[in-house]
């Protein structure tokens, strides 16, 4: 079960002709797929398209009604290979993943798919994780589209345009026998808007039809001589067919303006931001009327030569607004203009930055520079937004970065605290990280980890550091998500085969937590549509690891630190795997909290545990926070006015995971920590015993209080 439930939202997928959909961009894409008559959908979750997968999961019954097969792919490569169903059969299919990281993984399948081409419409929906809010390296999916020659759709970021482009994308794919890639930027995925619906379409040719009437065409398979033919086909047949379709259907848009000597060419996805910049300059209005003519490339690849030439004809200069680098589109346009010997001057990365997100502020500056060099009279500085005065340095320096970190009660925190503690005994170790929540270990307060080479590649990233010349071992981290994605072979199998003597810690928290808590093979939950409860330990032993230890309660520092210590000091040679197994707290709470509330309401005895710090006992050194880093472990005013430094404080959001107490014990921190056990609906006997105990204790407490009152003269 994913972190977010779309049970309510998926009802919108049933809307029909004449009804208006209101909701998130990524949900609109899902609806567009159903309106396009897809036969199958697959993908691998990851921001910003996780919700697409979650929506499909929650819409399982609707998909079944429409005869749509849906898979949670093992990886993006699996997802992309799934599109092979559209090679021989007139089946429409779509897959989705995070890009460019997912596209990197998928690129082998993508290249094979694109080489042979498709019969049914095949669409890759890539969440372009670029710019603010991104969690990956800054690269462009555009390069993949170019190298494999798949068409890249980059629609204007309003729901109507996006939905339209999904529908047209399938037609384009079929018209040109080529897979298409729909690029969705982060904000477009999460944008709330509306569009007018059409009815969902049940595919006329079904998966059953395909399975029962198998087809093959050796000319579609990538093997010589067909592979050489494919390349020719791409440039001689498929490309022209695509261009023809794009032009006929008007997929790219031209917006006229009265300043005809200038023009702006913009990727569809950047249109809204560009228009806002123009609006702020007084050169456009909120309805999209622009004084500068616009050529909006809803198809970012291929570039349509004739359209570019037509747009540039008679203009003294055009500006290309293209985010990211290299500036493929701008270079392409330069070639088109040069070959046609057109004298229109070309601007783009000369007035705009080469790297980084094209925010409205960046565009405002770039477009102003462009227009200023030709029509300075159009620049009206009075309409521009007034910029804020600089913050006083005292405040400016005090705005701290606030990166994401482990949640309250996260079972991974005790793992990294244990690594810190074990390093106090055995010294620092080289640590290779992976992708997932556990990568927050590289940030304060843990500051652990040297490299991360990609999803599931935690152990592979330490492969070279494998030598018999030292007894010291390296530590690698891998999440359960990365493990099943590829880590079992790329990491574990590799370590076994190459006789590694190093340690891998697998974080087994029952979900792919960082992508939103989706189920995987080793999830402990029963999932009606998937097979779960396949243990990681069995898989690891299956590929030949002899030394495997499972810690079933990561919060026990003694167990966790003990397992790590054993693995790092064991005389036994060979790869060591420690499986750190406790449920993701974010997801556990989603499961447990409502149940607990229900039990309390029903009058059942429930004990809620949470931690606290005695402010008078705490000395304000914050060692505990440096070892722990829990959001619920914070600081507060020192009750002793003679001491200035703030004391540690446990917030009410504490879930009583137990780590504070464990660390106070294991690291011999201080006696400030206590655990409060709050008993809801105690039994009658319990109440009675409590009364007796409290009476005795109260008698002695009163004696202490009397001494205090005698000293200071009041009960204050």
């Amino acid at each position: 079960m994913a972190e977010r439930s779309f049970k309510e939202e998926v009802k919108k997928l049933r809307l029909g002709q004449g009804e208006t959909f209101r909701g998130e961009g990524i949900l609109a894409v899902t609806k567009a797929l159903l309106q396009s008559g897809v036969s199958y959908v697959a993908g691998y979750q990851g921001s910003p398209i996780s919700h697409l997968m979650d929506v499909l999961t929650d819409a399982y019954d609707i998909l079944e009604e429409l005869g749509v097969h849906f898979e949670h792919s093992a990886s993006e490569a699996t997802a992309c290979a799934t599109l092979a169903a559209s090679v021989n059969y007139p089946l429409r299919g779509a897959v989705t993943f995070k890009s460019t990281v997912g596209t990197n993984v998928a690129s082998d399948a993508l290249a094979n798919l694109a080489s042979g081409g498709v019969t049914g419409g095949a669409m890759l929906i890539v969440g372009e994780d670029y710019g603010e809010g991104s969690s990956i390296m800054q690269e462009r999916s555009h390069a993949f589209a170019m190298k494999s020659q798949v068409w890249l759709l980059d629609p204007r970021p309003n729901l109507s345009s996006i939905v339209h482009m999904v529908e047209k994308g399938f037609e384009l794919s079929e018209a040109s026998s080529t897979p298409v890639m729909l690029q969705m930027r982060i904000r477009a995925c999460h944008v709330h808007g509306h569009f007018d619906c059409k009815d969902n379409i049940r595919p006329s040719f079904t998966l059953k039809d395909a399975i029962e009437n198998p087809q093959r065409d050796v000319s579609r398979i990538v093997l010589p001589p067909a592979s050489f033919l494919h390349e020719k086909e791409k440039v001689e047949n498929r490309w022209p067919a695509a261009v023809k379709y794009i032009r006929e259907q008007g997929l790219n848009e031209f917006f006229a303006g009265d300043v005809n000597e200038l023009g702006i060419i913009v990727q569809g996805g950047l249109y809204n931001t560009a228009l806002r910049a123009l609006e702020l300059m007084g050169l456009a209005d909120a309805y999209g009327n622009s004084r500068i003519p616009l050529y909006v490339m809803n198809v970012a690849y291929p570039v349509v030569d004739e359209e570019v030439k037509n747009f540039c004809a008679g203009k003294s200069a055009v500006l290309v607004l293209e985010e990211g680098q290299p500036e493929f589109i701008e270079q392409n346009i330069a070639t088109i203009l040069r070959r046609a010997d057109m004298q229109t001057r070309l601007h783009g990365k000369d007035v705009l930055p080469m790297a980084g997100e094209y925010t409205s502020a960046v565009m405002l500056k770039g477009i102003s520079a462009f227009i200023g060099s030709y029509r300075v009279d159009l620049l009206n500085t009075s309409s521009l937004p007034r910029t804020a005065a600089a913050l006083p340095p005292a405040v400016n320096a005090q705005v701290h970065p606030r990166p994401p970190s482990f949640c309250t009660g996260c079972p991974e925190r005790p793992l990294f605290a244990s690594i810190k503690l074990v390093e106090k005994e055995l010294g620092q170790h080289h640590m290779s990280c992976d992708i997932g929540c556990h990568l927050f270990s590289i940030l304060p307060p843990f500051n652990l980890g040297a490299t991360t080479m990609g999803y599931g590649l935690g152990w592979a990233g330490a492969a070279a550091l494998n030598t018999t010349t030292t007894d010291k071992r390296t530590i690698s981290i891998m999440g359960d998500g990365g493990f099943w994605h590829n880590g079992l072979t790329s990491g574990v199998g590799n370590a076994v085969f190459n006789k590694s003597d190093n340690l891998l810690v697998v974080v087994d928290n029952s979900y792919t937590s960082a992508t939103g808590g989706q189920d995987i093979l080793s999830s402990r939950a029963e999932n009606p549509i998937r097979s779960t409860n396949n243990p990681i330990a069995t898989a690891v032993q299956g590929v030949g690891v002899k030394w495997v230890k499972t810690v079933t309660h990561t919060y026990s520092i003694a167990d966790m630190r003990g397992a790590l210590r054993d693995a790092l000091t064991s005389k036994e040679k060979g790869p060591k795997v420690v499986i750190a197994q406790s449920e993701c707290m974010l997801n556990k709470q989603r499961r447990v909290k409502p149940a607990t509330q229900k039990s309390i309401k029903a009058g059942e005895r429930v004990v809620r545990e949470r931690f606290g710090v005695d402010a008078e006992v705490c000395s304000g050194d914050h060692s505990c926070i440096r070892l722990n880093g829990c959001p619920s472990l914070s600081i507060g005013d020192n009750p002793n006015p003679l001491k200035g430094d703030p004391v540690a404080k446990v917030l009410d959001s504490c879930l009583g995971c137990g780590l504070c107490g464990e660390l106070a014990h294991a690291a011999v921190l201080c006696p400030s920590f206590y655990r409060a056990d709050i008993v809801f609906n105690p039994s009658g006997w319990e109440r009675f015993m409590n009364k007796v105990t409290r009476a005795v204790i109260g008698f002695f407490q009163a004696r202490l209080e009397r001494r205090r009152v005698a000293l200071i003269g009041s009960a204050a």
């Binding site: 009327n289 709050i678 000293l711």
Partner: protein, 488 residues
């Protein structure tokens, strides 16, 4: 196309929040309200992994009812935002830093409470930023600043901060919708409606400028009476008025820690500093001498843990309900050293050499103070108080305090400014166990460096820098480097 600058414009709203704070709910309410009024509304966000407690921005635009579809932007443009809502004070700072708040345009609604950053929390001393500076900056940056502790208002209504902030947004008058429109959006949302509306009302009132009393008032300086009355009288007679607050507090704490005589000793020890300089030295010495003399040993910890006021405090902290029971379990790990410390010196010394004792103590313990067994275990430890003067720890601390005081007194006559800084070096001693050992080690290192520091041209500044360095990291790297930089 000539009237482009006069065409209607969308209202722009940026919400700065941390993951899990309900920024999304707030954005959804705003959109729902606008759409119900026939407006076109759009919201976007870049949550990503920021939902894991990181800072994130939600952006909302709303456009009046119109025949034609407007093109709405996906992100805020600096200088072009009408309403900024910050869920916490540092996030308001972030909004200002990003240039989203301008005096011509922006109403800034911010909660004044703090969710401390990791940088602030992990500091070994006080790493907190100056909240007052943020509010001052907000006043300067915004057209109108609406600030209150909306977290507290929400908590009082048993709701979440997004409701209180929504109320403040309504009360700020920055949006052209009546209060009932806002409230209807909450009702349509259908979750926790009653408590949300209560928090909304409180937020609304705060934004309308009604005094909402949430600020903690400073407790006035009060002299102790009872058996401490004569000592309080002595404070009044022998010490300057500005120092009275610290001294009253100190004698109460020391009398509780040990006894009246101990508090009297304290005043005696401060006498040499009374007539010196402008009072800064006395204030610093008074503060840190009191803290040091009331050092943290097992007896004091036990004393604190068994107090009835502490039981009540915990119950209040965990919001214990009428019909609920509470157990308090202490996580203690006294090492053999700490046990030996509170015993009579001779016995303590013997204990340190005993392997049997080491095996017996030196183990982590969970003590349930609310049980008879746990309570009396701690009671017995607390009862060692009258014998404390004979303990190993007392002898050690007392000797060090005397040595520090002697140096301080000498220094006060020779270099007053340096003495003021030197008076604060006991600040380095903190905590228990290893932390305590480290603190003592740093203190000794700084004290030993004093003769070298005195040869420099700006010794007070250097000594301050040494204290800061000692509090910079756990491994003593910064202090080591700083000490190396001082010529012998």
């Amino acid at each position: 196309m000539s009237n482009m600058t006069t065409a209607p414009k969308a209202i722009r709203i940026a919400i700065l929040a941390m993951g899990g704070e309900g920024g999304g709910v707030l954005a959804d309410w705003l959109v729902d309200m606008a759409e119900h009024e026939g407006w076109t509304a759009q919201t976007t966000s870049v949550p990503g992994v920021a939902q894991r407690t990181g800072a994130t921005i939600y952006y909302v635009e709303m456009f009046p009812a119109s025949e034609r579809m407007p093109v709405l932007a996906m992100m805020p443009t600096p200088g072009d935002v009408d309403l900024v809502i910050a869920s916490e004070l540092m996030e308001a700072g972030r909004a200002m830093q990003r240039g989203l708040v301008t005096p011509e345009r922006t109403t800034l609604v911010t909660s004044t409470h703090r969710v401390y950053s990791m940088t602030e929390k992990t500091a070994m001393g006080d790493g907190r930023v100056d909240a007052a500076e943020f509010i001052k900056a907000g006043q300067a940056a915004a057209r109108r600043l609406v600030s209150a502790d909306f977290s507290k208002l929400a908590e009082a209504a048993r709701s979440v901060i997004s409701s209180a902030l929504f109320g403040a947004a309504a009360g700020s008058g920055a949006l052209p919708f009546g209060r009932d429109r806002f409230e209807e959006a909450i009702r349509r949302g259908g979750i926790g409606v009653e408590s949300s509306l209560k928090a909304f009302a409180a937020g609304f009132a705060a934004a309308q400028g009604e005094k909402v009393d949430v600020a903690a008032t400073d407790t006035p300086v009060r002299a102790p009476a009872g058996q401490l009355a004569p000592l309080a009288e002595r404070v009044r007679r022998e010490f300057p008025v500005p120092a009275h607050g610290i001294l009253f507090e100190a004698i109460v704490r020391l009398a509780e820690f040990q006894d009246l005589a101990y508090a009297a000793d304290y005043l005696d020890r401060l006498k040499p500093f009374v007539a010196r300089g402008d009072g800064r030295l006395l204030a610093e010495a008074a503060r840190y001498l009191a803290v040091w003399m009331a050092y943290d040993d097992g007896i004091k910890v036990a004393q604190e843990k068994i107090k009835s006021a502490r039981f009540d405090g915990v119950a209040k902290d965990v919001r214990l309900g009428q019909d609920q029971l509470l157990d308090i379990r202490e996580f203690l790990h006294p090492r053999i050293e700490e046990v030996a410390d509170i015993l009579p010196a001779g016995f303590g010394r013997w204990l340190l050499t005993s392997s049997v004792a080491k095996a017996f103590f030196g183990k982590p313990k969970i003590v349930t103070t609310t049980s008879l067994r746990g309570f009396f275990s701690l009671w017995i430890v607390a009862s060692l108080r009258p014998m404390r003067r004979g303990s190993l720890r007392f002898q050690r601390e007392d000797a060090q305090i005397k040595e520090w005081l002697a140096r301080l007194e000498k220094l006060a006559a020779e270099d007053y400014d340096l003495a003021v800084v030197f008076a604060a070096v006991p600040r380095l001693i903190k905590g228990y166990g290893d932390t305590h050992v480290r603190g003592h080690h740093n203190l000794t290192a700084v004290i030993e460096a004093l003769p070298r520091v005195r040869k420099l041209s700006a010794p007070a500044g250097t000594l301050n820098a040494l204290i800061a360095a000692a509090l910079a990291d756990e491994d003593g790297k910064a202090l080591g480097a700083a000490l190396k930089g001082i010529p012998a």
